[in-house]
């Protein structure tokens, strides 16, 4: 009986405390970023902070619900949950509601639900289920194609709904695949392709070709054994140049104007500094405001509810994607660093727990959770601070919104449940 009790409460409290800290601090910042005039009541549901408080309340109901299922339930029903998520995404094309040009929401009365937020954990479950199958071997091309299909199905559906930001998140699963045995060459190719893309955009095709050629020559001469034929090297070079050219074409013709501008500003592709500055002012308004708000916070910040740029609503979308700028302005370097550290600790904790799982399903899922949180964290805060081009995705547990908060909560607490069950595994 005693052992039963112990087992039941064997949840990882460190993870849970980190989660609570992030949600709580997130709420304070949403309160600051969204209040208009005096705060009369914290439960004023006509205000965003009032609504968010309700979302947080419902989150706890959700947590109890998730934890009450058998751990095995998630493994067993992973495929069905995934299918439901895919159907929900597809249904958007018929029943969906357009918000800001993206068809990502279901409207139920005054409520809206964004299925893409829930598709993440569903996909993570499906990936874990597929990889943990005894017959799956990530080294084989067949399985690689199948898991790719698992992640690209929702990703493409979401891209078609004009939500490019959420699509990028699915690239997070690369970390999972790599952990589970994907060949190193993929990593090398991925990094190379990113470098080639940047080179091609920034310095042109000729420079790209020369740099690639040099890299190949170095590799050729240092690799005394098992040299590939010259022909293969020429082929690689051609592919690299072709890819660079393709990226350039895509940048010029394939992107929407605002996406193109974001990349132009980020990579400083415009040579004329005055024009670039004008472009920044025109196209990167959010970013400039967000950077200014963060900078103005200084070491200790202006204090809770005291941020002048937050109060003046200078940063558009500050309560959602740009919530971190509120932290920067009102809590300063100290508060912002604490948030960064909390996220890093949470992700590391999940990774640690994942590695200690006895079942491969739990481990893969845990890795998926860590990867998804990591990509969100990196892209969101990187964007708000101007380190990467603007991509609109929320900061987990922080940004305003029910679907987002619930999506991440489900994602995390399924893992908490799986983890709590590890003693029963063998």
């Amino acid at each position: 009986m005693l052992r039963e009790n112990q087992r039941r409460f064997k949840f990882d409290w460190i993870t849970i405390i980190l989660f609570l800290l992030l949600v709580g601090f997130g709420y304070l910042n949403i309160l600051s970023a969204s209040h208009v005039g005096e705060i009369t009541s914290y439960f004023d549901t006509s205000q965003l902070y009032g609504k968010h408080l309700i979302f947080i309340g419902l989150t706890f109901v959700l947590i109890v619900f998730i934890l009450s299922f058998e751990a095995k339930f998630y493994e067993r029903f992973a495929s069905i949950i995934y299918l439901v998520a895919i159907l929900a995404l597809m249904g958007l094309f018929i029943f969906g509601k357009d918000v800001n040009g993206a068809r990502s929401w279901y409207g139920i009365g005054s409520m809206t639900i964004q299925p893409s937020e829930f598709a993440k954990f569903a996909t993570a479950l499906a990936v874990a289920k597929y990889i943990s199958d005894l017959q799956t071997n990530m080294q084989t091309l067949k399985d690689q194609i199948r898991v790719a299909a698992i992640i690209f199905t929702p990703a493409i559906l979401i891209l078609l709904q004009n939500d490019a930001g959420s699509t990028i998140v699915y690239l997070a699963f690369f970390f999972v695949f790599y952990r589970e045995g994907l060949q190193q060459v993929y990593l090398i190719v991925a990094v190379s392709l990113i470098l080639i893309a940047v080179l091609a955009l920034k310095f042109g095709i000729l420079t790209t070709a020369i740099v690639t050629l040099l890299a190949l020559l170095i590799r050729y001469f240092f690799r005394k054994k098992k040299r590939a034929s010259i022909l293969q090297y020429v082929l690689v070079l051609l592919i690299a140049v072709g890819f660079g050219y393709g990226v350039k074409l895509f940048y010029q013709h394939g992107l929407k104007a605002h996406q193109q501008n974001r990349i132009t500003i980020f990579l400083r592709l415009e040579k004329d500094p005055i024009k670039l500055e004008q472009m920044r002012k025109r196209e990167a308004y959010n970013l400039i405001q967000s950077e200014q708000a963060i900078s103005s916070g200084g070491l200790t910040g202006k204090g809770f509810l005291e941020g002048t740029r937050t109060t003046g609503k200078f940063v558009p979308e500050q309560h959602t994607d740009y919530i971190f700028s509120t932290v920067g302005e009102e809590w300063g370097f100290l508060g912002s660093s604490v948030v960064v550290v909390l996220f890093v600790l949470l992700i590391i904790r999940i990774l640690y727990l994942a590695e200690t799982q006895k079942s491969q399903f739990s481990r893969v899922y845990g890795y998926g959770v860590a990867s998804i949180l990591f990509v969100h964290f990196t892209i969101n805060i990187g964007m708000v601070m101007g380190l990467i081009p603007t991509v609109g995705i929320p900061l987990p547990f922080f940004s305003y919104g029910g679907s987002g908060l619930w999506g991440f909560t489900v994602l995390l607490f399924i893992f908490v449940k799986l983890d709590s069950n590890k003693i029963n595994e063998w």
Binding site: F175, S296, G328, V340, F374, T378, M385
Partner: protein, 646 residues
């Protein structure tokens, strides 16, 4: 290894983020300053600048509203050419000027506001005010400009102008576009007249709209109005003095000996203070500033240092009595001058030998050379004697700044033993080396206000109040240093013979032509030799005409020094003007219209042209008087009649 990829990436990203935060917030971040926060609008409310009244309560300086267009460059949107054209038209500037001004403001600070177009006319303001909200980053700031109720006293009243960046750096109260006293009482009493501007902090949103007071207005302040001041100037006397100085260059400083209050402070040539108000200020100021010949901005009453000449002899007489080196009755002979060694200091024909009374009213050089030698030679070494003499002279306020409340001034010069030690070497000079000091030439230099103060001290028989311009400050007292008498080193009993001598200057001496019926005037004429460098040759010009006086003889009401550049001998212009000023002040009218006509009719402009004519010219005795034409003369008489009575 595979386990470590994500782990290391996570830690790396965390570190990069903290580094970026450090760069943005600590390294590149600035100390939070609400004045630089573009989310907070700062609305200044400029207080009423204090009014300036003359000693009789006549309003001299009031205010008029003025409107400036201000710009905060960072908030300015790029306008298409149509909108820009329209805006430039409203502002009445060209497109190029618009861009130039915007660039200049951006260079100063993109965050802070800079003046864009200043001092709009009322009609321009009315039109612009309606349309202002269409142009982001621009707003209208109301200020208060001066409105002079008079055309006189430009050098006394001074003016206000825009603060420059050097001032802002030193005094953070001022923001670009603010006005500050630049000259005269506007400068010395800036802090009292200015008041304190009020400020409102308003939270803006990103559309530049006000959304309410910042922190419920906790930091807001109300403007504190500036205090009115009353100055010691008698506007009527000042106006009359300026009229007398027409077509002449020089200065008149009149002081009330019983209080040290400056009754008039004339500097010629003068200008209308209204020239330095409004949009044309800088144009007009530059014109005045660049006039390096007439130097209208040079206050000759305060800044011009000249050898004081004969009026200085009165001090030597006083020092001699104090030091008991002569009695009033001791006589010295004068054979058209004073011989020392193989040199001679010339004098004019008069009764000889002369006692102190004759010495003063005949202005005998030989008499004072003898007296001066006794003063210095009383001691074992000339150095000791010189320092003792210097101490007495300085006690009359000569040789140093008066430390008063005027915006400009000069120390003048009274030599000490050190002066000659430097020139000749220690113990290598004798009293005769310095003999010119006896007659106020030599190394002595004084400004007209110092001479007027000297006259006041003599009139007071031994003390003076620091000459000052402030009479009353609304709800405040004037500084104690202006109401505390300063005593000279001469005992009261020694003054009477000297005062009598100065009185006799009027009775039977060099100024006997200048008497005014019913007023006992004590005075002393003077001339000062002066030189100019013409084509790198030191050339002597016609002497400056100097006159120092006080009246009445007992309990004087007015003491003054008059100084007319190149006016020749003392009684010719300066003496006449002094008598006229005294009569005008004491009687309120002029009975000696002959003197007045002389002063008004004769111009010295031709004299001032001489050094620039490029031709040889005569001085002093070779000069002639040149009358202005009748029409101009009548105009001056009319101006006199129009001086408002106070």
């Amino acid at each position: 290894m595979r386990k470590l990829l994500l782990l290391t990436t996570v830690i790396l990203v965390g570190l990069v983020f903290i580094a970026r935060l450090f760069y943005l917030q600590v390294y590149g971040g600035y100390e939070y300053n609400i004045f630089e926060d573009s989310a907070i609008r700062k609305e200044y409310n400029y207080p009423k600048r204090g009014y300036v009244y003359d000693r009789n309560g006549k309003l001299l300086v009031a205010n008029q509203p003025s409107y400036d267009v201000m710009v905060i460059p960072r908030e300015v949107e790029t306008m298409d050419s149509l909108k820009l054209n329209e805006f430039c038209k409203l502002l009445k500037i060209t497109k190029e000027k618009y861009l130039r001004k915007l660039e200049k403001a951006t260079n100063y600070s993109p965050r802070l506001s800079s003046p864009f177009v200043q001092q709009l006319s009322k009609t321009d303001y009315a039109v612009l005010q309606e349309k202002m909200r269409k142009y982001d980053g621009f707003y209208i700031q109301k200020r208060s400009l001066r409105s002079y109720q008079t055309t006189i006293g430009a050098n006394v009243l001074g003016d206000i102008g825009e603060v420059n960046r050097a001032i802002i750096a030193k005094k953070p109260y001022y923001k670009l576009g603010d006005l500050i006293g630049k000259q005269g009482v506007e400068k010395t009493y800036e802090n009292i007249l200015r008041g304190v501007k009020g400020i409102k902090f308003i939270q803006k949103d990103r559309f530049n709209k006000n959304i309410g007071p910042y922190k419920n207005g906790t930091f807001d302040t109300l403007p504190k109005p500036g205090k009115d001041i009353t100055i010691t100037i008698d506007a009527q006397l000042q106006a009359y003095g300026e009229l007398l100085m027409t077509n002449k260059r020089g200065g008149i400083v009149a002081i009330e000996p019983s209080s040290g209050e400056i009754l008039a402070m004339v500097s010629g040539p003068s200008y209308n203070p209204n020239l330095l108000v409004g949009r044309d200020r800088s144009k007009n100021f530059n014109k005045l500033y660049r006039d390096s010949i007439a130097k209208p901005l040079f206050d000759r009453g305060l800044q011009a240092m000249y050898p004081p000449g004969s009026p200085f002899k009165t001090l030597n007489a006083l020092v001699a009595l104090q030091e008991s080196v002569v009695t009033t009755e001791e006589r010295f002979s004068c054979a058209m001058g004073y011989r020392y060694g193989n040199r001679k200091m010339g004098c004019h024909a008069h009764r000889s030998p002369a006692n102190m009374n004759i010495g003063i009213y005949e202005s005998c050089n030989a008499y004072f050379a003898n007296v001066y030698r006794r003063i210095i030679d009383k001691y074992d070494s000339p150095a000791e004697g010189m320092d003792n003499w210097s101490r007495h002279i300085k006690s009359f306020g000569l040789g140093n700044y008066l430390n008063n409340d005027l915006s400009v001034g000069q120390p003048g010069k009274v030599p000490t033993a050190e002066t000659y030690n430097e020139g000749y070497g220690k113990n290598r000079w004798y009293t005769t080396f310095t003999i010119s000091n006896a007659i106020g030439q030599g190394e002595v230099l004084a400004t007209p206000i110092q001479l007027a103060n000297m006259a006041a001290a003599i009139g007071n028989r031994g003390y003076y109040y620091t000459p000052h311009i402030i009479k009353e400050i609304e709800g405040d007292t004037i500084p104690l240093k202006f109401t505390t008498p300063k005593y000279t080193t001469i005992d009261k009993r020694h003054f009477e013979p000297v005062v009598q001598g100065m009185f006799d200057v009027y009775n039977k001496g060099t100024a006997n032509m200048l008497q005014v019926k019913g007023i006992e005037i004590c005075g002393k004429t003077g001339t000062a030799e002066n030189f100019a460098i013409i084509d790198s040759v030191k050339t002597q010009l016609t002497d400056h005409s100097i006159f120092v006086a006080f009246a009445p003889k007992d309990n004087p009401k007015i003491a003054l020094a008059v100084f007319v550049e190149n006016g020749y001998f003392g009684s010719r212009f300066a003496g006449r003007m002094a008598s006229l000023m005294i009569e005008y002040y004491l009687k309120g009218e002029i009975t000696r219209t002959d003197m007045e006509n002389f002063v008004l009719r004769y111009s010295l402009e031709h004299e001032y042209q001489k050094p620039f004519s490029g031709e040889p010219f005569g001085i002093n005795r070779q000069t002639t008087l040149e009358a202005i034409d009748e029409k101009a003369f009548q105009k001056l008489l009319k101006l006199k009649a129009e001086i408002p009575k106070s």
